[in-house]
């Protein structure tokens, strides 16, 4: 009956969670918000491009060229008129006769181009300095009359990087993407499920159900069922976020509103992926058991919030250190964060994804995570049983752990 009772707990917990509006609203809010944001940005970019195109066609400006570098044909072809008196140019802008006036200095490499223009707002007014320098650049290209040299000078030189590790070509960025996705999955599950983990056993205490439930199932079995249910709910939650995101991405892609990404370049590297998945699983179990243990020790959700914040902080702190990890992988703090159970998931998964974690260190982290999760699971079960009927006070953790089992 024990196995079926765990399955009963799992199905009860999963079904009742998936029936709540809070779950679906919470899960879909992110993708919907992102879709709306991308849509608004795409529409906004499209209208800005249209607006800029329309303005370029009807653009009117005057210029004074003290450098002798401006090609008059180029400037005239986009609506420019050459004059000789800078004061007149500024006066024409003030009078609204032209949209802008550009005064090119004798040496544009040491002195700025002076631009006077109609105020079209902070963003749209920026097109005038851009246009002034673009005219000069185009004039220079025309003068050099060698597109290769111009390309080299302008810095747009294509390169192709091939890296090797132990004599084998490494996949570079395309090999990092899938392990990095695992971090996102871990983060989404723990952050979005954190409160659910915290209240997993608190609900029984707050509703005074504990005594009845513990005559039907052992605390460890109840806890196993609850943790397994949280895992299933986490997978559903990730799917609820990922599937609509992919659908929205495909729709935007067909509408030509997405940058082209060649997914065929993605590389599946077995060792980092297996390590990443095991770290994800171990990290999930550890954080779930930790939060469940906190819930088991506290009489109410409110009492548990302080420690909940501490655990979540341990999860977040390594994110701020990622850039530092990249530049100082051998640093003592990075090493400590890699192997300390509650900071290990993000730290080790990030290092693993970025190719900065030797496989044997990854294996140690996996062992540490699963061992810590198991120990915390036992503590959580003990706290729950010891404090199951402590309905209104915090548990004395020392006494709970000292109490001998049957």
């Amino acid at each position: 009956m024990a196995k079926s009772n765990i399955a009963t707990v799992v199905s009860f917990e999963v079904v009742r969670t998936l029936r709540t509006r809070v779950f679906w609203v919470g899960s879909l809010l992110g993708p919907v918000f992102m879709a709306v944001l991308i849509g608004v940005l795409a529409a906004s970019n499209s209208s800005a491009a249209d607006s800029l195109g329309a303005q370029t066609q009807t653009f009117s400006f005057e210029w004074v060229d003290e450098s002798g570098l401006v090609n008059a044909d180029i400037a005239t072809s986009i609506g420019g008129t050459q004059i000789t008196d800078p004061a007149q140019g500024v006066a024409d802008v003030k009078a609204g006769k032209v949209q802008a006036f550009f005064q090119y200095p004798k040496d544009p490499t040491t002195s700025p181009i002076l631009v006077s223009a109609q105020d079209l707002g902070i963003l749209d007014s920026q097109q005038f300095p851009g246009l002034a320098s673009e005219i000069l650049r185009q004039s220079a290209v025309q003068d050099v009359n060698n597109s290769t040299l111009v390309s080299l000078v302008s810095g747009s030189i294509p390169t192709q990087l091939t890296t090797y590790k132990d004599g084998v070509v490494t996949p570079g960025v395309w090999g990092m993407i899938l392990p990095l996705v695992l971090i996102a999955v871990f983060f989404i599950i723990v952050v979005m499920q954190g409160n659910r983990m915290l209240t997993a056993l608190l609900e029984e205490k707050e509703n005074r159900v504990t005594e009845m439930i513990l005559t039907t199932i052992k605390p460890t079995q109840l806890l196993t069922g609850k943790v397994a249910a949280l895992g299933v709910i986490g997978v559903v939650q990730v799917l609820v976020i990922v599937v609509p995101t992919i659908i929205v991405g495909l729709v935007l892609d067909r509408a030509g509103m997405m940058p082209t990404i060649d997914l065929s370049k993605l590389v599946f590297e077995p060792v980092p992926m297996i390590l990443g998945i095991l770290m994800l699983l171990g990290g999930f179990l550890l954080f779930t058991c930790s939060l469940v243990a906190i819930g088991a020790a506290m009489p109410t959700v409110r009492d548990a919030q302080g420690m909940f914040a501490t655990v979540i902080l341990l999860l977040i702190v390594p994110i701020y250190l990622i850039m530092w990890m990249l530049t100082n992988p051998g640093n003592v703090i990075v090493q400590v964060f890699t192997f300390f159970p509650w900071t290990a998931p993000i730290t080790a998964m990030a290092r693993n994804a970025l190719g900065m974690l030797p496989w044997w260190q990854g294996a140690i982290v996996v062992v540490v995570l699963f061992a810590a999760a198991y120990l915390v699971f036992l503590v959580a079960a003990r706290l729950f049983q010891y404090g199951s009927v402590e309905y209104s006070k915090k548990i004395d953790v020392r006494s709970a752990l000292r109490t001998t089992s049957k």
Partner: protein, 289 residues
């Protein structure tokens, strides 16, 4: 059973026979609920074990046990039917059987339209009925009821009593933890009295009555009764007295003594000492609710 370094239940052992109704008695704080929680594994006992039909109790045997705890509650945000089916399945029923049983029970207790309603939308009395249903799901062979009528309205108390009688008639063993002596005298075959975590009395109701005074006599007289080594005065107010006869004393000898002492006795009724009187004598009036 210890709480920290403090022993709260000391070397307690008792048998409950199949098919009997057993009263587990004691004042508030004497360790009744703690004993039951330790037996069921809700508390981790320092030592000892509950055997059901000779086998150590495990939650996996929960189909054989129905427990109504003193602290009651159910999943408030779940529907009545979902909650009952969940507990039914934990007690070893199939989902279909649990659903059918729950529907039948809800019909019986007048809640057929509440099956799909969340528990927190029910009245207190309706929630009590659901709690009772969860307790007796799967027709348990052993029912443990901790302060069963506590907080129950008269309608639900009557429902509970009828369920106890039904289960008893069906051959179930029932343990009632209470300090309601009226219920005990009506329902129980045997009892145990617990005081300060120690067994104070144990046996059939008659045996315990015998142990605590044996024969008692209710007397109506025209003046207060004098002290005597032949009896102990249990109550004596306004000419209505109850005495407990000392071992070996005959009731007729006491009556003769009273008449010789010049007391006019208008009523002299020998009988057994009431459990309530024994309870007061054991725990002291101040301890009793």
């Amino acid at each position: 059973m210890n709480f920290g370094a403090t022993p709260v239940i000391k070397d307690l052992s008792f048998d409950v026979y199949p098919g009997e109704t057993f009263g587990f008695l004691g004042s508030n704080g004497c360790g009744k609920t703690t004993t039951i929680r330790a037996l069921l594994g809700i508390y981790i006992p320092t030592a000892g074990v509950l055997h059901i039909n000779g086998r150590p109790f495990e939650p996996s045997q929960s189909g054989e046990l129905g427990y109504l705890p003193e602290e009651r509650g159910l999943y408030k945000k779940e529907t009545v039917l979902d909650t009952m089916v969940y507990f039914g399945r934990l007690k070893g029923m199939s989902a279909a059987d649990a659903r059918a049983w729950s529907s039948s029970y809800l019909d019986r207790v007048g809640l057929p339209t509440k099956a799909k309603i969340r528990l927190d939308k029910l009245s207190g009395g309706e929630q009590q009925k659901v709690q009772l249903g969860v307790t007796i799901m799967n027709n348990p062979k052993l029912l443990i009821l901790d302060e069963p009528t506590k907080g129950f309205d008269p309608v639900n108390s009557r429902l509970l009593m009828s369920i106890i009688e039904e289960r008893k008639a069906a051959g179930a063993t029932i343990v009632i933890i209470t300090h309601q002596m009226d219920d005990v005298e009506k329902l129980c075959d045997r009892i145990i009295l617990l005081k300060d975590g120690v067994k104070h009395a144990y046996g059939t109701v008659e045996e315990v009555q015998e142990q605590f005074g044996g024969t008692t006599v209710k007397i109506e007289a025209d003046m207060p009764l004098p002290s005597s080594p032949s009896y102990t005065i249990l109550t004596d107010e306004h000419g209505h007295s109850e005495i407990a006869l000392s071992p070996g004393t005959a009731a007729s000898a006491v009556l003769d003594d009273l008449v010789r002492a010049g007391i006019t006795v208008s009523s002299f009724t020998p009988g057994r000492r009431s459990l309530e009187s024994i309870f007061v004598a054991v725990y002291g009036a101040k301890e009793v609710d």
